[in-house]
Amino acid sequence: MELERTEAVPAVPSVGIPAGRRTFLRWLLGFSVFSTLAMVATPVLGFLVPPKSTSNQAGGRVLAGTTADVPVGSGKVVAMGSTPVIVTNTAQGFHAFSAVCTHLGCIVAFDSTLGQIGCPCHGGVFNASTGAVVSGPPPAPLKPVTVVVEKDQIFLVNS
């Protein structure tokens, strides 16, 4: 046997519910529906509106600056998202490395007297073209970051 389908809802003897209460119940249901819709729509609509900061959105490439910002024989520390990166410009061209010193985590800087990357905390020195340790306590070279130069813009590629 198939499920019995309701052909007709049998007439129900009314036990006098005042019209006010009926309206109240309908109002409650309406509120229920409305509040649910509002509760759902608010985050959905908020989510759809694009946020103002688009720095991370580019997922992959970050503009580090222009070639004028980093002349030959200098280096500059920029933020690639939440990672500090040092961009150097040497005779071997543009290079970029993680700016976190491999010794104890200080942020390195370009040392113009040495022409290399130096860490101000304990005197570590890194090669500005290869990131290799030249002297001092750092145990490992700086991690390289891919750098792409288009016209006069320097991009760092997140990988």
Binding site: L3, E7, V9, S14
Partner: protein, 364 residues
């Protein structure tokens, strides 16, 4: 008394009762949907049926996953370079992004839990018997597709946890005898987990599996509608007997279902706010983190593989899945009451206990 129709408004077309809206409303004249909705809603179900609304909850959660997943897809970038940053951006940069992502994350977990509990309920009530074999098979398909959803979706944030859990998971798939290597290649889009893997997992997760699930779901619900809800108290090989007590599906059952849906929504909101989905370090193929574990619903399999030889660890669950799918054909006992099915329930309980113990061991 304000009858249910008074409060809710009748939707049956020509034969509606006192106080119902006119049959040919503006919409009705232009769509003719009244008859369909009436046919779907105005059915009756056995008074003894006890579903705990688990199947409906799974459906609700699936709908929620579609909604939140679609929203996430508006910002997500399925490349190794873009995936991590875009997920981080969603979580910390987009308004309510954390909420949508966390609901999606917890929704996935709850959906699997509800689905498993639904399967257990069906098993316990013998609701896979008496003309429900095809329904059960389709359900087995739904189970596999849902697990597939979980597996493919887990990789998408492309952080260390995602990457290495996928590596381990596909490695297990690669251990299947005979077809293992081809399967591994197929899953990973190559020999290793790379951007090719991310591409095909994304495509699976966002297109293939949703369409497949929707199709299976349509069949599943149609059959459920056709056969009605099972009666846990007595076997009904030919449907409910004439004298059987029934109650309306709409509004009684539907109302309870919606209340359950609200309750689960509240749980999801609490979980999303108190335990938001996090993000570990970006995936690094050269650095294996110390404790890689697959997601919790694979832990039992992972633990089993540690204890038995590889082959056994692959074949045994395979056989178990086969038995599960073919259960209605293997269990010919016409009884549905628990007392009359000691063997089936005994085996079922043991299997559940084993899976639970293995899961806990895997988590520890």
């Amino acid at each position: 008394m304000a009858g249910r129709d008074e409060v809710l408004g009748a939707t049956t077309a020509p034969h509606s009762a006192v106080g119902a809206k006119p049959a040919d409303t503006w919409l009705e004249r232009r769509t003719g949907l009244g008859a369909l909705s009436g046919a779907l809603l105005h059915v009756r179900i056995p008074i003894e049926s006890r579903t705990w609304y688990l199947g409906g909850l799974t459906l609700f959660l699936f709908g929620l996953q579609i909604a939140t997943g679609t929203l996430l897809a508006l910002y997500y970038k399925p490349t190794p370079d873009g995936a991590y940053d875009s997920v981080k951006f969603i979580t910390s940069g987009v308004t309510f992004g954390w909420l949508i992502r966390s609901i999606h994350h917890w929704g996935a977990n709850l959906m699997i839990i509800c689905m498993v509990l639904h399967v257990v309920r069906i098993f316990w009530q013998g609701a896979y018997k008496h003309r429900r074999e095809v329904l059960w098979l389709v359900g087995a398909g739904l189970l596999v597709v849902t697990i597939g959803f979980g597996f493919t979706g887990y990789l998408l944030p492309w952080d260390q946890r995602a990457f290495w859990a996928t590596t381990v998971g596909t490695e297990i798939a690669g251990s299947v005898p005979v077809v293992g290597d081809s399967l591994l290649n197929l899953l990973r889009g190559g020999a290793d987990v790379t951007e090719a893997t991310l591409s095909r997992f994304f495509g699976m997760h966002v297109l293939v599996l949703p369409l497949l699930l929707a199709a299976l779901l349509a069949v599943h619900l149609t059959i459920v509608h056709h056969l009605g809800l099972a009666n846990p108290k007595k076997a009904e090989p030919n449907g409910p007997e004439p004298g059987g007590k029934l109650k309306p599906f709409f509004p009684n059952y539907v109302l309870d279902e919606v209340i359950a849906w609200y309750a689960v929504l509240a749980i999801l909101v609490i979980l999303a706010s108190v335990l938001p989905a996090g993000l570990e370090d970006k995936a690094n193929a050269l650095e294996t983190p110390p404790h890689i574990k697959p997601e919790w619903y694979f832990l039992f399999l992972y633990e089993l593989l540690k204890m038995v030889p590889r082959l056994v660890g692959i074949v045994l669950p395979g056989i178990a899945l086969g038995v599960l799918a073919l259960l209605p054909f293997l269990d010919r006992n016409p009884e549905v009451r628990p007392r009359k099915r000691p063997i089936a329930l005994g085996i079922g309980l043991l299997t559940l206990a084993a899976i639970a113990v293995l899961t806990v061991m895997g988590a520890g």
